[in-house]
Symmetry: D2
Subunit: 290 residues, 4 copies
């Protein structure tokens, strides 16, 4: 599968210690290789002694044949400056696995956006610890795998199964679409690809279970959702996107859940889109979103 | 001073255990006394065994002379049902004191809205622990009092001074417009009127000092502000209003402060307006905002 | 089909010329019949000589048997005052038909919300002038009818077919979920039930065809969507709900379409929910939304 | 006056027909002159045959002495490519005149932000066709000039006066802070600097006078404000920024005005800030806002 309209387009991410002339060095290198810059974003945490981040999308006729030379030049130019870089052919979609549970709204929204052509990914696999979305997933032509997992039970076996499925499907990243199971540190170390979660609160408010009930108990006037990369610290990973919706005293906890579900799927879909487009760069516990 | 357009208008707040026929009882009582209902809001936490809250604004020709009879009837009708009630002449503005410190944005915004006729209150007093807004406050024709108070110092004397000033000014409520000093439990017990604070974060996220720095450190994508009634538990009182604004990785902490200041003054001014209009009812640690 | 949790609940809508004592008259009437008010909203365009609107939801044990007496009492009480009224058993869902075309986002969102239990309606019928959503609609267990209709062709036959299907399905209202065909005045007169449309702009900006292209051409910084009741004047009917999303110079027209689609389905679903709950009252070319 | 923190910083705006290597050419040129790029934004309406826009902020030790050489190099590099360019010393604030009328909210908000250090401009002049804000403006230490002008009267004399004052004050741009007088085409040709207006509606909805009344009449659920460059076509100039706020059927036209005033001042202040920072590039009737 190739993404329409992006033949011969590449995305280059450069990061490292900020220094004079780095933008010029990168753009000159691309010009030498016949690359025409389509978009360029850069950010420096501090021009003096800060960290530098750059995302460049460029077009280069016959990109495939030139990648080897380009990569060699990038390595010899950037690595002496202490910069790291990633070059990716934009026409090749990332492979995304979705882990889901009982709630279907985030799962179906991602599948529907994908079918509609709005998410430039391949979805080789949906894994759920429940079976009741199996038919819906099948209707989208996406393979569905049931791996039971319950709170309070030992998860080492189910996590091992999930890891096997992810490895077989050769995925580039994993999305927890309201998966509701806490993944072990061991799993996160072994999975080897980014894992994006949607948490149903405006983090850092209401970490952990039952955030809508906690929001009701606290009497907040806005509820929210947060998409973030998963780390071993529950709900503490780098935030990619957040949004909120207004609520009132008249909204019951189930009504908060209903309204929050719309925010969750919107926030998650934006985070997934941006990750798929290489717009999100992790920097410690922060993200730069270009 | 009287508020234009509200001659002979009263606001009745009723609350207590929900029971059948309570709305009919109240509206029939008002009809008997010649009151014409202008607006009516009600809320029940649960029709069976929940708490009931009602706000009625009504017009009654010659309200002043009829208040005594009306109050007697309300007492004999509602108190046997276990309901509490407050009746207020809407044309009489509440008296509001503002406590401020170095930052002027919330203070000046309230004074400006008041002068513009958008805040139905009287402002007999601004108290600040700094002097540098004295001239601005004077330009609005509002009395300014300087009561020094610094972090880390004993505040019993400054709090006692503030209490004396508030009592002399006979205020109905107090607004902390980025006052930045923590008021003691002793002060809150003695002040005897509601105290509204603006906290510069989206509570319950970032309780306490330096919320913008904490927001930057956590890497959130939205920052916010919260207006709430002050209780002895710091930043834990009933929330009246909240709002947020979008930020990015590119916004520095000073930029968060600058953008947050706009949210703070907007949120505080809405909370003050609603409190002044008797639209906010406290219920435990929640508010009902009609 | 009955809506869970609303057994013995009724919704009463009263409207007409505002006059003293009308709220008391209605609430006393309900109290006489053993109705316990669950929620009450009222609005007056002007206490003196304006129009009055009220929505009351009440619980009455054994509602079914009492409806006859209640209706007789409402007629004899309200009609002499020039008030009109509608009484509806809240537990009986309204029957909604959806008319759709090529774009599936609004259609599928409504079907999905309905299946999830978030839309208190029955959906006896989806009519489309294209066939390619037939399978998706079938997967939701909803009857699908194909009635071809193209721009520029005579539509009297297709409209007649649609009217027959709507009559057979005995629908209470019709939703145009990006139907994209202009319905004739003749159709609107004959259909006899409210028709809700979603227009893909922030009305009254960008009336008519291709609003996203017009928005791009004008260089707006926000795009929006509007749900409204359909009248013979294109895009001029009473507005039920609107919302917007921020865009930039970098967003192409297809990107505006993609982002706008999310706003459209959100706005339409809110409008449909509120209509289904009898929260929307038409008043001339305005709506009151309680 | 110099802007703190921007010594030796320059902003370069480049625009023209997009072509390969243009970003590299500009960044290499800056690198040759010892410029360290602090931020870089670029936009192309179409990589093939479209228009290209770039904004670069860079730091160059001893900027003042190097400007001549830099400008010569920019001219010889960019002009053969058909590109236009502007180079500005960021530490030198633009000179902004404000034209105002009776309403004070936009005027005072700009003055207050300026005093607070949030608007990097100098304000040598406020002109009003009314006198009642004279004292407030004076309190900010800003010169106030009264130039009477009324609807329906011949404005050639008042416009000539305004032009003389603007010329004497040597302003870089003019802000109409709810000035409410239509400036003639003759004035706009002679003024020779950009003129920014705040229109109190969400353009292109409600062009012309009394937009809040028109919004009330149409029954919209959101009201808005639009900041745009003024052209000879009333309310048709390039849009810089827009925003909206939610309203309901219960909001009267004066209430729309009150709530809209908050949106107006927020939108105008953002537009003015971005213009002052050279973030806004006009392209036909569009703006690129970096």
């Amino acid at each position: 599968m190739r993404i329409d309209g992006f033949t011969d387009h590449a995305c280059l991410i450069v990061s490292g210690p900020d220094k004079e002339g780095i933008v010029a060095a990168v753009t000159a290198l691309l010009a030498r290789h016949g690359g025409n810059i389509v978009s360029l974003d850069q950010h420096s945490t501090d021009p003096i002694g800060g960290d530098f981040f750059q995302r460049v999308v460029f077009h280069r006729e016959g990109l495939g044949e030139s990648l080897g030379e380009l990569e060699a030049d990038l390595a010899s130019t950037l690595e002496p400056l202490g910069m790291t870089w990633i070059l990716r052919d934009v026409s090749i979609p990332k492979r995304m696995a979705i882990l889901a549970s009982i709630e279907d709204h985030c799962l179906l929204d991602l599948l529907w956006r994908h079918r509609r052509g709005s998410l430039p990914v391949e979805i080789p696999l949906v894994i759920s610890n429940h079976t009741h979305t199996a038919e819906d997933v099948a209707a989208f032509g996406v393979p569905f795998v049931h791996v039971p997992s319950q709170k309070g039970q030992d998860k080492s076996e189910s996590e091992a199964q999930i890891l096997r499925h992810l490895a077989e499907a050769d995925v580039d990243f994993v999305v927890l679409a309201r998966y509701m199971q806490i993944l072990s540190g061991d799993f996160l170390q072994k999975v080897g690809v980014p894992v994006i979660n949607i948490h149903h609160s405006f983090l850092p408010a209401f970490i952990g279970a039952n955030p809508y009930q906690k929001a009701k108990d606290r009497g907040v006037k806005l509820i929210g959702a947060t998409a973030h990369y998963v780390t071993e610290d529950l709900d503490e990973g780098p935030i990619i996107e957040q949004d909120v919706v207004r609520v009132t005293h008249a909204d019951s906890t189930p009504e908060l859940r209903r309204r929050g579900a719309d925010v969750e799927r919107a926030v998650l879909s934006r985070a997934v889109l941006w990750h798929a487009q290489d717009r999100v760069i992790r920097s410690g516990n922060h993200t730069i979103v270009f």
